[in-house]
């Protein structure tokens, strides 16, 4: 169906080869997963399939890409519209209509399909993706998962043979991600659709993939079954790390396989002492009966809680549950309808300038919002100047966080992980009492996530400060959080230790705990520590 023959790609004004001599044939009904570190060229590979690269982006392409016999050299992306459906990294940026129904119809209108065909297909897709109740809704009011489903639907209405998705679950909560992926799985099996997908969160998609294309960052690609590729790849989901750590000869890519392989380990008796660092007595954040209302809708309903030193709190919940509203009220940037928030005894809404910087560090969903300098160096110098600290301090923090960033790089040219690192070091340079992060792992690869985990744990433990983060990433929560607060519809529905909260809901349980259930282990290091203590 899709054929890459000797494909090499270089972007203009760049010396780095994005892809080198890729040969790959994807047959009908196959689901292929593209993995690699951020900035390694996953998106480029996906966009080569319908010719957006190089027709839209420029660049030198050697070799040939063809889909169903149509070479992208001869046919422009528009000419492939009936053959390939493509869903971009951020579907909201690609919507062209106001309502769900119109959006679904847009692609067919441009293909000039007759009205009765359009009506039939819109109904089909509405049913297939369970979008029927949303048909007249304005797209702007949909949640992330719903928008993703609409984007997939609007790609499917043209009855393409190939569906290409760039990080379809990165912005979604675990439940919405599951919905989207099971729909894809069904499409592959029922309609023999060919699906090519790029994703960082391997734990979510790996069990659905037939083959993996791994790009190593220098243009070298390897292609194989998930077991072959993940055996030695540095990019691997937690269960593969578990298999490696346990010294299993084979690796399993699904929880079911891994449970079979590890039944012997689960049968033994273990000393199940928890080792969470206990919080200090120092109440840093106090939330009392906090309510937040936007346009008459309640985002938070009378929420109360206290956060102490040494704690790393993960705020979880579905898209639209009020996570961002809570974080913004803690940071003092949203209007509070009633109740109060105090951070280190101060009202965050009244903080300004230096006092604000030393009290609260906030990393927004788009870390680049904080950046405006023309180079990494200018950003770091500005932070030094703002905080009246010896020049070079911020740069030093940055070098510890993400080594090897050239000081003259423009922040825009950094990878997602590097940009987060830069924003984080600017915020950390003022040494705030509280660090708040909104969805920090969106678009981060495993390496960058590991760095982030290390930094945050160090920050909280070293000086008795606290970290509050909102995230959908259960694996990240398992790695670092000491406490989890679960929001639903503006209420705190669960608040307790990470172990307690994560294990109580199967949808939010990390992979290791699913494999090791009923033993209460969340991460690979828990398992290893317990086994070592047993011996």
């Amino acid at each position: 169906m899709i054929k890459f023959s000797n494909v090499s790609l270089i972007y203009p004004n760049s010396t780095r080869t994005v892809l080198e001599n890729l040969n790959l044939e994807i047959s009908e009904g196959e689901m292929v997963l593209v993995i690699g570190p951020t900035g390694s060229g996953k998106s480029s590979l996906l966009r080569l399939i319908n010719g957006l690269v190089p027709h839209h982006t420029g660049g030198i392409l050697a070799g040939d890409v063809s889909v169903d016999g149509n070479s992208t050299q001869l046919v422009k992306p528009g000419g492939m519209a009936h053959l390939i459906g493509i869903v971009g990294q951020n579907p909201a940026n690609g919507f062209v209509a106001d309502t769900v129904e119109e959006e679904l119809a847009f692609g067919m209108e441009t293909l000039n399909l007759p009205n009765d065909v359009m009506r039939k297909r819109v109904e089909e897709v509405l049913d297939l993706l369970s979008l029927a109740p949303l048909r007249n809704r304005s797209i702007a009011t949909l949640s992330g998962g719903e928008q993703q489903r609409v984007a997939i639907g609007s790609a499917l209405v043209a009855h393409p043979k190939v569906l290409v998705l760039d990080e379809p679950t990165s912005a979604l909560d675990p439940i919405a991600a599951e919905e989207v992926l099971s729909i894809l799985h069904r499409l592959v099996h029922d309609l023999s659709l060919t699906v090519v997908i790029a994703e960082h969160k391997l734990e979510r998609v790996i069990q659905f993939a037939d083959r993996i294309v791994h790009i190593n960052g220098e243009g070298v690609t390897s292609v194989g079954t998930p077991e072959q590729i993940l055996m030695n790849s540095p990019i691997a989901p937690p269960i593969v790390h578990l298999a490696r750590a346990l010294g299993l000869k084979e690796i399993g890519v699904s929880v079911r396989e891994m449970r079979r392989m590890t039944s012997g380990i689960r049968e033994k008796e273990y000393d199940l002492a928890e080792s969470i660092p206990s919080p200090t007595d120092n109440l840093i954040i106090e939330v009392k009966d906090l309510s937040v209302t936007y346009d008459g809708k309640h985002a938070l309903k009378s929420v109360s809680s206290g956060i102490y030193g040494n704690e790393i709190i993960a705020i979880m919940g579905r898209n639209g549950a009020g996570k961002s509203s809570l974080l913004k009220s803690l940071a003092g940037i949203s209007q509070v309808s009633s109740g109060s928030v105090t951070v280190s005894g101060l009202n965050p809404q009244h903080l300004k300038g230096k006092e604000r910087r030393t009290t609260i560090g906030f990393i927004p969903q788009e870390p680049s919002d904080l950046l405006y300098g023309q180079s990494v160096k200018i950003e770091c110098d500005q932070a030094d100047k703002d905080n009246q600290i010896p020049s070079g301090t911020t740069e030093q923090i940055l070098q510890q966080l993400v080594p090897g960033i050239s000081a003259n790089t423009h922040p825009r040219d950094l990878s997602e992980g590097q940009r987060l690192g830069l924003a984080l070091s600017i915020v950390l340079s003022s040494n705030p009492a509280v660090l708040i992060l909104d969805e920090p792992t969106r678009g981060l690869d495993y390496q960058a996530k590991k760095e982030l985990t290390r930094t945050l744990i160090e920050f909280a433990r070293a000086t008795g400060k606290c970290v509050v983060l909102a995230t959908h990433d259960v694996e990240l929560v398992a790695e670092l959080a000491t406490r989890v607060m679960f929001l639903a519809d503006g209420d705190i529905v669960a608040d307790g230790s990470t172990l307690e909260v994560l294990l109580s809901s199967p949808a939010f349980a990390p992979q290791v705990s699913k494999v090791m259930s009923p033993l209460p282990w969340l991460k690979v290091s828990d398992v290893i520590a317990a086994i070592e203590a047993h011996q």
Partner: protein, 248 residues
């Protein structure tokens, strides 16, 4: 009150009619009352969507334009004799630039003519800003013929990306306030402008790529899933503009 659901071209035709009337009439009182009427229509009828909110920014922008235009109009140009208001120092110019002066005596007549001209320009901007904020750019795209393909893409990008930027501005300013930056004065705008520009470019490219890969502009004919019909209400709105045009 239920909001009218009109044909996407209606408000644009209405705006063109009013704009012509304002230019033809060239009376400040008429112009200002027109702007007032337009503002009322927008505040009553606009939707709670990014483009709906863009009207506030249009108003702010025009206030700035009016101010700057008046100051420049008073200071630079040909002097008009009349009642003397105050005098500012004259900037000496080389004698090969006759007839132009910078500074000097400011007369009542000079000031009023500068304001009149400024008001007219601003009125036109407000009227078209109103049409942009009353019409969903996406619906507008659907009624535009495909043969103006490049134009269509630019329209969608300009009208859907730019209003979204309005919300981005507040988001970015909020984030930078958190960095403890003071956001006063002109210099702070640079700090907002850079992330904003990047985001708008990225968004525009995404949208253009999405439209391209869905085959926009490939077939010169387009079918209609749910044709947008011209209704009586549309004719009524256009009629009001025509009546104003006729009276001017």
């Amino acid at each position: 009150m239920k909001k009218l659901s009109l044909h996407p071209l209606t408000w644009w035709i209405w705006a063109i009619g009013l704009a012509i009337a304002v230019i033809r009439c060239d009376s400040t009182i008429f112009t200002i009352s027109c702007v007032g009427a337009v503002a009322v229509v927008v505040f009553v009828n606009r939707e709670n969507a990014p483009w709906g909110k863009s009207f506030n920014w249009t108003l702010k922008l025009t206030a700035w334009i009016l101010l700057v235009r008046t100051i420049i109009g008073v200071l630079i140009g040909v002097p008009i004799p009349g009642t003397k208001l105050f005098t500012v120092p004259i900037l000496p110019l080389p004698n090969w630039m006759p007839g132009i002066r910078i500074g000097g005596t400011v007369t009542m007549e000079r000031l009023s003519s500068a304001i009149t001209e400024g008001v007219l320009i601003c009125a036109i901007i407000v009227i078209f800003g109103a049409a942009a904020s009353l019409t969903s750019p996406h619906r507008l795209l659907r009624v535009l013929p495909v043969y103006i393909y490049e134009f269509g893409i630019s329209i969608v990008i300009a009208t859907s990306v730019l209003p979204q930027l309005v919300s981005s501005v507040s988001r970015i300013r909020q984030a930078q306030k958190l960095r403890g930056q003071s956001l006063r004065g002109f210099a702070s705008w640079r700090k907002v402008a850079i992330p904003l520009l990047e985001e708008s470019l990225a968004r525009s490219l995404d949208l253009a790529a999405a439209m391209d890969s869905r085959g926009y502009g490939v077939s010169k004919k387009r079918s209609r899933y749910r044709p947008i019909k011209w209704r009586t209400a549309d004719s009524a709105v256009v009629c009001t503009a025509l009546i104003v045009l006729g009276l001017s």
